[in-house]
Structures are given as C-alpha cells and as structure tokens.
Symmetry: D2
Subunit: 324 residues, 4 copies
C-alpha cells in the first residue's frame, strides 16, 4: 500500500488526485497539505467527497511518505523541494512544468524523468522522480509520436487545440469569468505556447528530422477536456498511417485509435486518449482527445505512480466516462 | 438632444448604457467617467464598439450635463453625489440600490422616485432623481403588481427566479468562475434577498393586504436574463386573471402578456418583459422574463430617461432580440 | 457473477448501465439488446467504450439471464415482458414508469417492488421484480421522506426542480435542440408532472397526513443532474430537522447530509444524493441533488441489483465525480 | 419604402430577417411565406415578436413585391423560382448556396451577383439578383481578401473556423442535440467544406496566384457566431499587413480592424466583422469574427438590400451587440 502525500490539494489537479487515490486499491492518502485550508475538511473544498472521506487538510508534510505529488503552481515546485528534506525512499511526481525539459531535469541531486508512459515506459518504471507532462503537451505528443519515430514528421505540422477552463486553474481571472467565457471562443499565445518546448524535445528524441510546429491554442467554453488536431503532409495511405499508430500504441494502456471521428466528451472524466486518423489528398489529419485534468494531469500522475511502484498500469484508473 | 454622462462605464450596466445611448436618436454621451480606465478608449473595455465610437474614458465629471447615470457599486452612489456638485438642471438616474426604499429616497435635498414605469409613470415624468429598480425586483414586481392592486395577493406567494451571471458584476468571484458555474445550478440568500424590500414596498403601495413572499433566488448557468415564477391561490378564472393583467399593462411600452409559455431567451437583449399566466386548480402561476441588464437595469434606465425628458417611451429601445 | 442483459442499450440510461456493469466486479454483461443497432459495436453508440469492450449489440434476448434491465421508453416494458418468456430465476429491473405505482405493480404474475433503497431496503432484497424510481421522484422523495415519516409534512410543500437535458432522452426534439436550450430556462408540466404519483404514494406510505405538493419542474441548460428544492413550514429547530434526516439516512449508502449549501455539480457522475437543510423563520428548505442518470436511473438500478443479489450496496458504484 | 417578402420565415435566417426588417426605417414586410405555419402569427415561431407585430405567416406569395428574400434550404431556391413568376421590377436575394458559384449564377434569365459588399460593392448596387454568401465563406474571405488582392496569398493558407449551432438550422439532429453538443468540440468535413468553392472563386478573382487552402471547420458549443483563424507566410511587417487591411476596408461599413485580440462574442448580434492581425516570425495570423446569422446571412442580406435600393449601407443595421 503506497502512502502518498499531496502538496497543494485545494486546486483542480489536487482535487482530482484525491478522488483518484480514494478509489485506488493500492494507495492511500497519507496527507493533503494546504497552507490556506489546513484544519478544514477535504470536502470543504471538494464537496463531492462529503460522506466519502472525513480527512482534513494538513499543515504538516510527512517527509517519510512513499510518494509525494506536487500540485503547486508553475515555478513553486523547486522552491518547495529545496525547503523540504524528504526521506531517501520518497518518490516524487511533480505536476508543474519545473522539471520537464532536459535542461531542468536535474535538480538538487534528483534526476527527473519526463512522465509520458507512451514514450518513457521503462524509464518511468525505474525512476524515483517524475516530471508529469503538460495537458496540451500530452494531447499533441500522442497525436504525433508515431510519425516522429518513423521520420514522417519532417514537414510542417499545423496544430490547433482547444482546452477547457479548468486548464487555467482555480483562481478566477478575466478569461475564466463565466460572463466572458460562456458562448465565447478565442485563442491565446499563438505559435508560442510554453508546451512547445516539451513537445519538441519528445518529437526530436527519435533523432529524426522534425518539421516546424505551428500551434494555435484556443480557449473553449467548456470546463474540461482538450481536443487537438494536427495535420501534415504524408505520402502513405491511411491504412499505413493506421498501422504505424496501432503498432506504436499496441501496449499503451489508455491510448486508443478510433474508427469514427472523435468528439471531445467521449474521453471526459477518463484517463483515455482517443486518436483518430483521417486522410484527404496527401494531408494526414490526426485528432486527439483527452481530459486535461486526468490524462493531461492527475490521471497520468497516477498512471506514473502505478508504473513506479510496479502495479498494473490501469490500477485505479478504469473510470466511468461522463460523456453527456 | 440630451447630454448624458455615465459614472462607472467599464462594468456591465455601464457598457449597456453606452451601447443604448450610442443608438439613441435624442441623446448623446457627454462623457464616460472611469477612474481605472481614464484615457483609454471605450472599445478597450467594450470591444464591440470598435469602429463605432472613438470616445475615451474620462477622469473628468461634467457637472453641467443634462443627465447623469450612476453605475457604481451598491453603496457608492451616495458617496459620489456628496462629493460632486451638480448643476441645478442636472437630472440623475442611479442604478444602485442606494435610494430605492422610501427611507432612503430623500438624500441631500434630492427626492428619488422609484423608477418602475409600470408603477410610477407620472411621477417619473415629473422627477429629476430616479432610483432605478433592481433586476430581480423588476421581474417579480411586474409578475405581481396587477394582483396586488386588486387585493388578490393576500395569500402566500411562492417565487423562484434564476438569474444570469452578469447579475453578479464584472469582478470575478468563486461563483462566477466558469469552471464552477458552467453546467451548475444553485441558490443563494434563500428567502432573504435584498430586493424583497423594494418588492414589498411596491406591492404594499396599493393599500391592499399582501401575503407572505417566499423568494428563492437561483444562480443560472447562462450570462444574461432572469426567469421568475410566482404562484399564489387565486379564486377567479384564468380569463379573469388575464383581463387583470391586460388592463394593468394596457399602456405599458415593454410589458407583454404571452399566450404561449415563456422561455428565457425570448427577451434577451431587449427591454421587454414577457408575462405568462397559467392556472392549475386554484393556483395561479405567473411567469416573468426580462433581460437583467436591460429591463432589469440599463434599458429601464433609458426608458426612465425618455420619460423624464418627454420623449416617447420606446425611443432608442426597440432592440433586436438575441434569441438563439 | 451476475449475468445481466440490457434491453435498449443505445440510449442514455442503457449506456450508463453498460458503463457501470463493465466496471462492476460481481456482474457481467450477458447481452445488450437493440433492434436498431444489432450487429454493431457498443462503442459505435458509446464511443467512450472504444478499447474497453468489443461487445456488439445483439438482436437476441437470452431468457435465461440472471437479470434483465429494461431501458425502454415508458409504456414499452409491459409489451416487452408480455412477448418474452423469461426463466423462473430471471430477475427484472425496469427503468420505465410502467410498474411504479401500486395499481400497476402487479403484472402477469410478477409483483414489482418500488426500488428506492432508502425506503424499501428489505423489500428490494427479497424481490425479483423492481420498478426503478423516476429521476425527479428520487430527488424529491429523498428530500421529503424523513419529514413524511414523522408526520411533519402536513403543510403545503413547495418544490422546484431543474433537470438536465439527458432527462428528455436521446431522441432530438425542439426543447433539446442546442440552439434553443443553450442559455435558456423554462418550465414544463407545472404542478402536474407524472412523477407526482410515485412521490405521493411513497410519502403517504407512513400513514401520516401529507400536505399538498406544488411541484414546478424546470428545464436546465446543462446535460445531467437534478437540483431540487422543497420547503414547508416546520416548527422545530434546524438541529432537530438535521437529526431527523441523519437518523433516517443513517444506513443509507449514497445519501449524505451536507453542511454547506449544495450545488448541482458536486454529485454529477456519481450515485450520491446530497441533501442540505436550511431554516428561515419557520420555513424549512431542503435541497437535494442527484445525477439524473445515476441515482436517478441506472446507478440506482445497479444499487438495486446489488441488494437483490446480496452484494454490498456500494459494489461497483464508488464513482469519481465529474465536478467541474 | 421597400415592400419585401420573405420565403421561409420560420427558420433562423428567416427569423433574423423579420427582426431586421421590422426595425428598418426604409423597408416593410409585405408577407412572410411559410407552408407549415400559414395562418399562425409570426410570434408563434419567434416569441420575441410578441407585442411587436401581429403579422401572420401567409400561404400566398405576392409576385409584385419589390424584393424577395429566399430563406429556403440549399437546393430549393431554384425550384421555388421556377414555379413562381415574379414581376419585372421584383428583386431577389437568395440566402442559399444555389447561385453563388460562377457556374450557377445564370438561372432562367436571372444573373446573380455574389453579394459580398466588401468585394462587389458596385455590382451589387447595379444588380437585381443577389446570391448571399455563406457564413464560413464570409468570415474567411474577409480575413483573406486584402492579401489575395496583392498577390500575397500565394503560399499555403491554414484555416480553422468554429461555428455556432444555429449554422446547422432549426431541424434537430444528432449533432445539435443539447446533450451531445453541450461542452463538446468536434470537426466535420475536414478540408472539403462546400464553402471552399465560393472562397476560392473570390480569392482568385484578382488574377493573382493563390496558395492551397486547408480549412478545418469545427462545431462549437455555442449558439451563434463564427471565429475563424487563417495563417500564411508573409514576408512584410505587421504594420505593412495592417496597412493593406486598412486600405482594403477603408470604405467598408461593417468590417473593422481591431488592435486587441478578438473574442467571438464581441460581434454577436451585430452585422460587424472584426479582423485582427498578429505576426510571429514570418507567419501572419488573421482572425475574423462574425455573427453567422447576421453578417453571415440575414444581416448581409439586408446590407445588400440597402445597396440595391440606394439606401446608406448601414440603414437598419446599427445593432446593439449582445456581448455577454
């Protein structure tokens, strides 16, 4: 039984981690650390937990826990790790972007592995420190990795991805105000989103030539999920593309190729990534859908936990979709 | 041509006032006062105005304007009026709740009239100072006034009304966060909403006995509009009720009785109030729908302006509904 | 291991049953009968099941199954049962309203028990034939049963409940058209909704006097969930009311009393019912929230299955909420 | 005063036309033809019109009207025109796609002009027969025409555009079912949308070389509006691009260049098209937003009417945005 601590449990990813661990047969929540809510019940922040757990937020960090999930804002994980002295056996999964890039992966004696199981399965199993991928980064990489591996991503790639409002966190802002976001559509950070860094590193890890990535991120007027489209020129047939993807994801626990065109909600509240291939002329369109808080964050973190502790990858992650 | 100034023009009601006055043939915007946005264009806060007006927010108040609209937070209007010395001829329409109740209506020599045209048409025409009604208060009063006038509201009245998120203002908060409000439903201030005060005063103005008002306000997951239902015991027939309402609203410019059941969107982006009557046994159900920002705020303010300055009541207010 | 068949598996409740049974450790899906989709994969109708099951819809009914779930339109269950001859051991859970009322409960030698576990726990355990309650009926009964049992529901009760669009089924209609329902609000069947029948029978089952029920059902612009409010006059204190509810639901597996006011989404995608009590003067307001497709339909059906087959009530029903 | 008839007035575009003409100072509705609703009031289909007009749907077509708007399903306009013999002076604006392409523009002696005022101002003024552009086609052309005119659109163009559900018409379908569309995202007809035809013809009308158009249309979970993005390689500076656009749209009545990034709702319920330019490296991103039912359909039709009858282009089209 894994004893896991959660640092930063009042936000969206922390809440999802709590829910997942409460339903996980091989893990238990050791503590949920929150400076602002210490002493209050978890259900005060996450009312769905009423009657399910009586646990309180804590202002203590157990540095002897088996595993620590860091659900802190970007930039705060390194500060937190510097100021806490964890036991030798304590493993760490960080959900921020602090340690994802190769240049950041080595930190105070800890060597972080990029926690995308479809790409780094064995390294994750052997690792003590995981940098959990970004949400857009997960959806987009899963759409492109099979092509990159074969050197078939050497032309320009055009990516559009729309994300739910939970991607922007629990703190209210102008663009997550209901009166603004409801019935609205807009883009942000065109061609410069910070996830391009981790995406590029992964795609380039096969030592193949990679084309330019044009990525336009969109704000969707829904709460959760990411629908990403990516297209590029591809000489082969649709069947050949399908075979590449099937082969690449043959062992993947949560990544599925669908025959029918995808719609976003079919993966919401699950850890699945659904991929769909479509060809028009020489243009191959890959569509990818994930739940940004699960496969894009907390679900993938638990998947990584399962791998690190030797449990079957799907343990505690066979979730009922909330498809409607 | 009325020269009108708007105090507090960057919020929702200020924005709607700007839009209405820009389209009004007998009024022009003299200035839009904003401490936070002075020097910036109106379209920086209200981007739909791009290419429609080049006006800037101002940090100056013209105390010689013909008319001042106060779009300040509740409690701030009195402070503003105390610190500005307006000309003798300057009229004032206040959209806050500072002067709506009889006890508050007399302020520093100004005598405010409650600006519900269906109730106070003549007084508004004669008045220099208007306390513009609240949004819930407008929807609910229009549903009940014809009964109150006839002394037929002497039994308990059960009121449920759901409002759009714009009712909570432009400042982000937990319950206007898109991730929370989207697909959600909840109530607030059960049986104690502050608009009960103005509602009660109006209903009691006919010197008839009024039953107890049970009012449950709901937060809706839409941006604009209020749908209110109110039912009470009523001995007469549906036709008799219909006649009462038709008579009461015979001269009303914007309040319509509909034969078909109402849905909220049929009044959105208009200054209309739609009322529907339904009878089951001895229970009379009155349904009322308004746009909370128009008939519930800025539209009614312009309606009051028209009355105060002797223009036809509908001037500048024949708006295309945004029904979809 | 229960071998269960689903009749009518392409709609919303059938889809939820499939999802729940796929995750149930003590049940397996024997067949999913669909006349329109026979031969196609379950995932063709429910794409979230891609990679999770390869099962096909069937045009055969196994009359030897341990359990049959009927997910047919109201009125069609009786016809279906008449034309199929099930084995002596086959149990039946019907999700329509065909057998819920006392007058309808006896059908062709089958005696249906009303499947609300909070009310009929022992009878359900002993029963072979279950009439699964309606969604509104579940939310409203759970809000009122503790009062009814004590004879404290003898005054008028005022009920407002708003439901998601999935309550109207998968067949498109004018009021489930997105262009109409989005951002909209409306009522239907005021004071005459068909669920009043089952609600009244349950409340009257304690041989106490019950006041008149005024029930106004609303269409919400969200997909799933019901938020119901019910208030009545209550002489006791809030604490006394709380004690009544705690006592009544002490053994309930899924019905929780919350301290904080409820919002709808906190129960979505779960089998929970959350209840909240609020008192203003002598008015007791009870708020109830359920997922209309789970506690209001398929989840409660599985809860009934667990009871009928002697499994712990929560088996397969500890679901992660989709709270955002 | 233009006497205008509307053929097919119970759908979305017909409804918007009715609203616009009721508010138009130089036009009056002669009749609204509807086979299914003849004899019923316009407000039975469009309840916002309650108290605004008492007009009924008619089963008669006045072939002497000054102007006929055809709001029929695609493919039905030609059939309708064949079976009706309009007066010599009767002008026609067709909102379907029947006569938009050069090959279809000549029909039974009528020569249809493509009614995009920003492209064909003079021809529209002289014309009796207008083929009103498609909604996607309008948004996308306005984003690209200034570049096409200068021969600067000779590289690949990558277009993504998301549309509201009203684009799919009033007839319910699987993808306009609220339970499906709410909180969802998906694409359709990738790279093959039928509007590509009219877009290409317009872009090619400048006798410049045009690059390949990659157009991915998306279904948005909102009711109205289109947000389109288009990017291509552009050697010049952002200022140079801005100048091109300003010059091209100098005389345009409704097309505005915005400095700030656009969000969809800022044009909803108006006839405006907002355009925004952004440059990253050599990539020029043009964003375009319109209301699909106004500038994308009925608003543009009235704009064309104004031009054809010699009225100022904005007559009756200065609409208050429904920005929230």
């Amino acid at each position: 039984m894994i004893k896991a601590g959660i640092i930063g449990g009042s936000g969206y990813t922390g809440g999802e981690l709590i829910r997942l661990l409460l339903g996980h047969p091989q893990a238990e929540i050791d503590f949920v650390f929150s400076t602002t809510r210490a002493g209050k019940s978890l259900s005060s922040a996450h009312p769905d937990l009423t009657g399910i757990t009586d646990m309180l937020f804590s202002d203590k960090v157990n540095t002897e826990a088996d595993l620590i999930f860091l659900c802190l804002g970007h930039g705060n994980s390194s500060e937190f790790l510097r100021s806490h002295d964890f036991a030798e056996h304590t493993k760490i999964i960080d959900l921020s972007n602090d340690f994802r890039l190769a240049d950041d992966a080595s930190f105070e004696g800890m060597q972080f592995v990029y926690g995308l199981p479809e790409l780094k399965l064995d390294a994750i199993r052997e690792s003590k420190f995981i940098a959990n991928p970004g949400c857009f980064a997960t959806a987009i990489q899963l759409a492109l990795l099979p092509l990159a591996k074969q050197g078939l991503l050497n032309k320009d790639v055009h990516i559009n991805a729309v994300t739910g409002s939970t991607g922007a966190g629990v703190r209210p802002s102008a663009t997550t105000h209901f009166s603004w976001r409801n019935n609205n559509a807009s883009w942000y950070k065109p061609f410069t989103h910070q996830h391009l860094g981790e995406i590029s590193e992964s795609l380039n890890s096969f030592d193949q030539q990679i084309g330019e990535l044009f990525f336009l991120p969109m704000r969707g007027n829904f709460s959760r999920g990411i629908l990403a489209t990516a297209y590029t020129q591809f000489e082969g047939t649709l069947e050949e593309a399908g075979q590449l993807f099937s082969d690449f994801y043959e062992e993947a626990a949560f990544t599925q190729i669908t025959e029918d065109p995808i719609y976003l909600k079919q993966v919401v509240n699950t850890n699945q990534c659904h991929l769909h291939l479509h060809k028009h002329g020489n243009t191959l369109l890959v569509t990818s859908a994930i739940d940004n808080l699960l496969k894009g964050a907390s679900g993938q973190a638990v998947q990584n936990m399962n791998l690190m502790f030797g449990y079957p990858e799907k343990t505690g992650l066979e979730l009922k979709a909330s498809i409607f």
